[in-house]
Structures are given as structure tokens and as C-alpha cells.
Amino acid sequence: MTTKLFGEPVRRREDARLIIGKGRYLDDIGAQALAAAFVRSPHAHARITDIDVEGALDVEGLVAIYTYEDLTGPMAEPLPVLIPHPQLHAPRTGYPLANGEVNHVGEPVVMVVATDRYLAEDAAERIVVSYEELPVVVGVDAAREAASAVHTEIPDNVAARHHQETGDVEAALAGATRTLSFTQYIERSACMPLEGKGVHARWDPADSSLRVYSSTQASTSVRAAIAAKLELSLDAVEVIAPDVGGGFGVKIVHPWPEELLVPMAAIKLGQEVKWAEDRREHFIGSAHERQQRQEITVGYGDDGRITALDVHAWHDNGAYTPYGIIVPIVTATQLVGPYAIPVYRVVVESVYTNTVIVTPYRGAGRPQGCFAMERTMDRIADDLGLDRAEVRRRNLIQPDQFPYDHHLTFQDGRPVIYDSGDYPGLLAKLEALVDWDGIEARRAEAASRGKLLGAGMAMYVEGTGPGPYEGGHVQVLGSGKVLVATGLTSQGQGHETSFAQIVASELGVPIEDVEVTTGDTRRFPYAVGTFASRAAVMSGNAIALAARGVREKALRIAAEVLEADPADLEIEDGVVGVKGTPGATIPLRTVAVLSNPLRYAFDEAAKQATQFARAGSDDRPPVAVGDAPGLEHRDYYSPIRSTFASGAHAAVVEIDPKTWEIDVVSYAVVHDCGNVVNPMIVEGQVHGGVAQGVAGALYERMAYDADGQLQNASFMDFLMPYATEVPDVVIDHQQTPSPLNPLGIKGAGEAGVIPGTAAIASAIEDATGRRIAAMPISPTELYDVMRSPDWEGTAAAGRRTGVGA
């Protein structure tokens, strides 16, 4: 097997265990553990007046019941505000168990521990909690009107007013040749990984240490939070993310109440305790994302070039703000996309509602920003009678304008300066891929079959790989095995494969010898987490740097043995050799043995490194000053700022005017994430992202009623797409390497989801000639738009005169 694997579609190494049922997910751990179950609030907003546990006490197998009264020290304080921000003026977080008040349906009130989950649930359902109901705030408009308050002391329901501007937008709009204003909405969806959250904790009373497994995207920070909240020394806590059954953002939030309560119970009870979230709990007890109201005013010239953009958005953050205002910031800063916007002002008000918290879901505010910007482009095109691709082309940042400074501050506190890209190139490829000029012919053909056909497009730029850092550790063992560790976690992205490819390529070893561990604080305790399409950029580069450190040391040691200049050495297939001199070689595993001067020969290979076997200079110590034993290296990658990936999507829809069913018949993606480690994995990420984009445009929403009850908290009613709902996707690639990191890569995880809603809204509008100002849209809602007496037509509607309901 070649060792130059960077860029190859290497088949995934993790699959070997996953396809035979030998994965190890959270609920596969701890067969003997006690089980936790939770009593959760059935009310969206209420005061707790009484908790009566009497009925549960005679349930056989009951071990313990915990309420807020049982929490002490830091556990009795609110959960942390993970990402404080000066503009988050009124942050609020819940308690691990409700402290007198509940603010959304699903908030945990009581934890029950029993000998198995069935019995824990038996006991939980016998606990009677009495509530005094309070007025409920549901939806971004109700929060804005503030007829009642989610948190009494925040009467306007505003948690934060995030504001950025790049110039005098009022003056720029006043001076614009043309302006237009509109309001639009985007609804809530959720990450909805197939595996919910889960926690297993084991306390070892003999050495006072705690091991926690959590289905998390941030094991190192979960560890720190557990240590802080349970008042344990950091070194007494280890947290491991086992195989994780999908994350998409929801598992970056931490510490979830359960991540603290389960370890707390394990310590108090001296027994293993486990909680595996069920699906209903995941709907009402984890996190959602996306809902915004957007008011947009744009100034532009007769040529369609934007001169000023003013955006005022209201973002529904749910009941609490544990993740700060990251989603509003991302919307605000990523909204501008690939376009040069001379003057831009954005205000995002983050408002409380009595609903599940809102934290990043794949895209993390970008789909909303893209929806705002791309629909603005469509409106300008419509107003001027220009082709939608042409309006976009005229506003694109040009390839010679990089680095391009938007004069905004990104989610990492760093400037939004695009590192590299070729946006006209993306657009040209997209037009070719979807045959943009051939749409009218397809429309006519569809019309002959009685279908309404329309096309839409959307472009995006995605800040990926934000800091502050990730690290990597690479160690060559005497067996020749290469151990690689990084602290961030994996939820299906194939890190065991991509990172092994990087090490195999950098170090010159067979990939079969490389073993990658992620998300295990025992192996790598410093990390940030897996979010914001950052794993390949951050840990990929850190691991590459660590591998380069190992390589340098290996060459230095090998050079002594081979009596050669390190610059004349190369490593291939795990063997160090002198370039152009066959036979002058030493296996890397032998170098690893020699790197560690020994007194004791514990095995055959070790003999070579013992004190009487190895010649050495009498006037130098066996381990030189500044050197260390072992063929290993630890390194970190800390970027000056994010890299910016980009892409363009086009969707073609066919609508049946009898049923108003919307069918995505073509979906084209052009994607640029810089250098690609594994194109098979990147395409897989794009496919998955597109599916979630289509889902968010046509199928998924969180249907809350006015009382704050989630009406569709099951897979029966929340319409996650099956294979039959996801269109075939055609993909073209462009590679604009990032100049910011050693490998030239940008992130790819979230990209596929970002433009879906915008492109599909545009396509439906193109097909029907009616304004689509709220997404997602169901056939019923489209029917309502079509038969509405006060429907708003697009200027292009003249072409669709026969269309109506």
C-alpha cells in the first residue's frame, strides 16, 4: 500500500467494526449499571408548588430519587453560560434539576435511579409534581411583542442585541438608486441524530476517580465541567466519547443536566449509573435551531450591484442561553456570503421563548444568513428583470480580492477575512452542472406533463475551523504501530481514516500501522471540540505537525545509526533509508526502540536499546538535554483566524398543481473546501448535508402549539426524510487551498446543509410566480399561498399566468 494517501478515497477504517455490530455506543456500555430516568415538565412555563415522591417509594428496584433539594454546592447553581459575550446582556441558564420554575416542556425536574430502566420509568411516572401554570411565550413574534415574559426580570424577552456595521447604512440606503424591503421567516428544525444523548458514569471509591462516557462532541470540556460542578480534581475525572451515533451540533452543548446528574448519582451511590435518552426526551429535552424573523432592506443600482444592506433579525433562542449568541453571530457574519457588500448593518435580537433551547444545528445560523442574502439576490433580479445568476455574478468578490476583509467580527472573536476562494468559478461550474440555461426548455417539457417546474440557486461562504486550537499526539511504538491521538471527538465523520491518511502520508508509514483515538481525555486532555466544520482543519493540521515532529526525530536518530545526513534520508513504508543508496536502511520500529535508552530488555526488540548493547559517547548523557525518550511528538495547531470554504447549490423542483406536492428533481452542488484529505468522505458529508437542507426546506419543523406543547415530538410526526424524499445529488469540486494552514484545507462538515432552504424557496417561487417568504413549506402551505386572495406575485409571475389554485 502506498504511503502517500492524502487526497485518496481510502475506505473507512471504522467501518470494520460498525458493519458487524461491534461498535460501542453509549448504551452498549455498562450492562450492569443502574438506570436513570427523568420526570420532565409537562408545562411550558410554570411554578413548581410540590413534588410528591411517595407513590414511587414502593416500586421494586428503586434506588434513589433526586430533586433540586438534593443538589449542593455548584450543582445547586445555574448551569454555565458556556460562551459569554458583551452583547449577551441578559443570559439565563437552567439548573440541573428545576429550581422552583420550569421554562419549557421537557425540562428535567426529578431524577430517578433504579435497577433497570423499566423500573426507573415505573417509579418516575408515580411521582406527582404540582404546578402553577404561568403565561407562555411561543414563537419569535410573541417573544418580540412581549405580552408576557419568559423570565420575569427580563420583561422584553431580549437576551442579546447583537449588532455589527461596516459603515453608515442609513446614508448609503438614502443614496441608493433603488431599494427594496421585505420580511421573511425560517422555522425550527433540529439535529436529530439517530442516537440520542447518553451518559454512563463509574466511580471508583478506592482511588476516588470518576470515569464518564458521554455521547458528546466535546469530551474535554465535559470533563472540566464535571470536575467543576462536582468539586473534583481534574485529574480524578476522565471523559470518553465512545462511538457516537451522530451529533450535528446538539452534542456540542454541555454540560447537559444529565452529564452532571448521572456522575453525581454514581458517586453518591457508589455504583455505575447510566442514562440513555429516548426519542421523546430528545425532542423536548435537548436542543433545536433555525427559527428567525428577518427584516431586510437593500440598496442597489440599476445594474443589480448592492450598495447597502440592512438586516434586522429576531432569533428565537428558546428558554435559556447556555451556548451564548453563537448562532446569531454566525447568521450576522456569514450572511454576506461570497458577495462584496460596501455597507452592511446587522442587528440580531436573541429572544426568549418557553421552548426547548436553541443551539447550533449543522450550519449553525448559516442557513438563515444564506436564506436572507440569497433571497435578497432573487428579489433584486426579479425587480430588475435580470437573470438570478447574473445578479449574483455582478456582486461576487473577485479571485484577485483575497484576502478579503468584510470588517466584521466572527464567532471566534477574530476578523471575518476570507483567506481564499474563486466564487465566479463556483458559479460558472454550477450553471454548467445544472444546465441553468436549459431550464426554460425543461419548464416547457414539465408543463407538457402538467407539472410546474422551477429552478433556484444559492451560494454561500462558510467560516470553518475556528480556534482557539486543537492538538495531536503521534507515537511510534517498538512494534511499528503508530498511535495517534487528538482530543476532539467523532460522530461519523471518519476521523480514524482521514487522520490516519494524514499521518501515513506525513510519516511515510503504511496506514494499516496507524491507530487513531479521538475524544478520550486519557489520551489527549487538551481540546476544544467537534463543531463548525473544524476537525479536519484543526486536528488534521495539529496531527500533521505532530507527525512532522516525529519524522524529524526519527531522521535524526536514524542518521546517527546510518552515519548519514538527516537531509539525505527518507521514510517509505515504515523504513528509513538513505536516498539513492539501497540497503542503507533501518525500520522505523527499530528507530522507536533506539529512541528510548533502556536498562531492562523486556522483550527481544528492547535488547537493542539497552545500555550494554548500544554504543554511546561517554561524555554525553543517554538522553540529551532538551530531548526526551520515545519516538513521539505532541503539537498544536492554533489558527490566526478561520478558513472560509465556499459553494453553490442549485435545485430544480417540479410541483404538481393538483396536490401541490413539491418534488426536487435535480440538485447540483459545487463545493470548495480547499485541499481534500479524503474525497469519498467529503462527498459523503455533502450528501448528508444536502439531505438535511432539503429536509429543512420541505419537511421538518418543530410544531409548537400556543401552550408550548411540541405537537410532533416523534418520528411519526416530525418528517425526517427517508431515501424516497432525498433527491439525487450531482457534485462538482473546486479546490482553492487555504493559505492559513500547513495542509491547505478548509472544513467540509456543514456545507451541504447551508443553501438548501434558499435554493428550494427560489425554485418554488420560480415555478409558481408567487412570493415564498416563509420556509419550510409543505404542500398544504403552498396550496394556501396559491389560493390566497392577497397573494404577492413576483415580477416574473407574468410568465406563470395559468398558475393558481
Binding site: 467501518d15 458487524i20 455490530g21 450492562a31 439517530l194 425526517m720 427517508y722 431515501a723 432525498v726 445529488v729
Partner: protein, 182 residues
């Protein structure tokens, strides 16, 4: 003693091995497999029969094990993902063509839904006329009842086509489907 505490002994052939267990009558088959028999390859994604992650074969037919009580399969033969591969003559393991195809086609990411897809597809492909080329409609029919949140299904469908091709009678390729083993 309430009705939920009533226990019953059952005998089930799981992946070809007779297993006995004494279980509360309310124990779901999914929980019995995972927690009583230690076969954690079968996953639970929704507990209401929609996602298909928990699918196992009961007497060869795909069944949502979260919707079945363990006592209902007394006397039956159950195949889980752990039982898809066959042992070869040297004590090694020969993967089912659909397992090979999933790996080859990158048809899984997080892997949580994968066991349900694998057993469903295996049953679907074994039940069809293997000599005929598989149609897109057949592919949709086979995979259309299982949820995956990672892959967007494109590569799962590709894997079904790959596996179907490998299982055609005339095929002698590396999937080893030509000997009629599957």
C-alpha cells in the same frame, strides 16, 4: 405482583444458536437482545417503530424489535447484524455481500442506523429474484423504511445495487456471492 413483573422463560434461536432466557413479559425484543443477550449491535433509535435502527429478522422477515415483546418470539429464529456474516472454513469470517458493499460504497457514517439497514437489505436482496438486475424502484422499496441522518441515502442505495450485483448467480467477484452462500 403486578402484571409487568410476570416473567416467562423463552427459547429463541439467535444467529443460529439456541438461547434461553427468563424475562419480564413486557421486555421488548430490542432490550432483550441488547441487555439480556449482550447483542448490542441492534440499536434503538426511536422506540416507536419508525426509524428501523432496531430491525432484526424473525424467521427471515424484517421486524422492528422495539415493537415486539421478547416473549412473542419464543420458539422463533432471530437474526441480528452479528449474525449476518458467515464463518469460513478456516474459522474466519466472510462478510455478507451487503456488509462488504456498505464499506466499499461509504454507505455509513456514524453507523448507528447501519445494523437496521444491513439486515433489512440482506433480507430484501435474499427474497428477490437474484438473476434479475435490480431496479431503482426495488432499491427504494428495500431501503425506504429506514431512517439515516448522516448519509443522505445516496451511498446506501449505491451499496444495495453493489450487493445485488454481487449476489447475482453468475457473479464470481470478491463478494463471494457466486457460490450461492447467500
Amino acid at each position: 405482583m403486578t402484571s409487568v413483573d410476570v416473567e416467562r422463560s423463552i427459547t429463541v434461536t439467535v444467529n443460529g444458536v439456541p438461547r434461553e432466557a427468563t424475562l419480564p413479559v413486557r421486555r421488548l425484543l430490542s432490550d432483550a437482545l441488547r441487555h439480556d443477550l449482550g447483542l448490542t449491535g441492534t440499536h434503538v433509535g426511536c422506540e416507536h417503530g419508525v426509524c428501523g435502527a432496531c430491525t432484526v429478522l424473525v424467521d427471515g422477515t424484517p421486524v422492528r424489535s422495539c415493537l415486539v415483546f421478547a416473549v412473542q418470539v419464543d420458539g422463533a429464529s432471530v437474526t441480528t447484524v452479528e449474525g449476518l456474516a458467515r464463518e469460513d472454513h478456516q474459522g474466519g469470517q466472510v462478510l455478507h455481500p451487503v456488509q462488504e458493499a456498505f464499506r466499499e460504497c461509504h454507505a455509513l457514517q456514524c453507523g448507528f442506523c447501519t445494523p437496521g439497514f444491513l439486515v433489512t437489505i440482506a433480507a430484501g436482496l435474499e427474497a428477490r429474484d437474484r438473476s434479475a438486475e435490480i431496479t431503482e424502484e426495488e432499491v427504494d422499496e428495500i431501503v425506504g423504511g429506514n431512517l439515516c441522518r448522516c448519509t443522505g441515502y445516496a451511498n446506501i442505495k449505491k451499496a444495495v445495487r453493489h450487493a445485488a450485483a454481487a449476489m447475482r448467480p453468475e457473479h464470481t467477484g470478491h463478494f463471494g456471492g457466486g457460490d450461492g452462500a447467500w
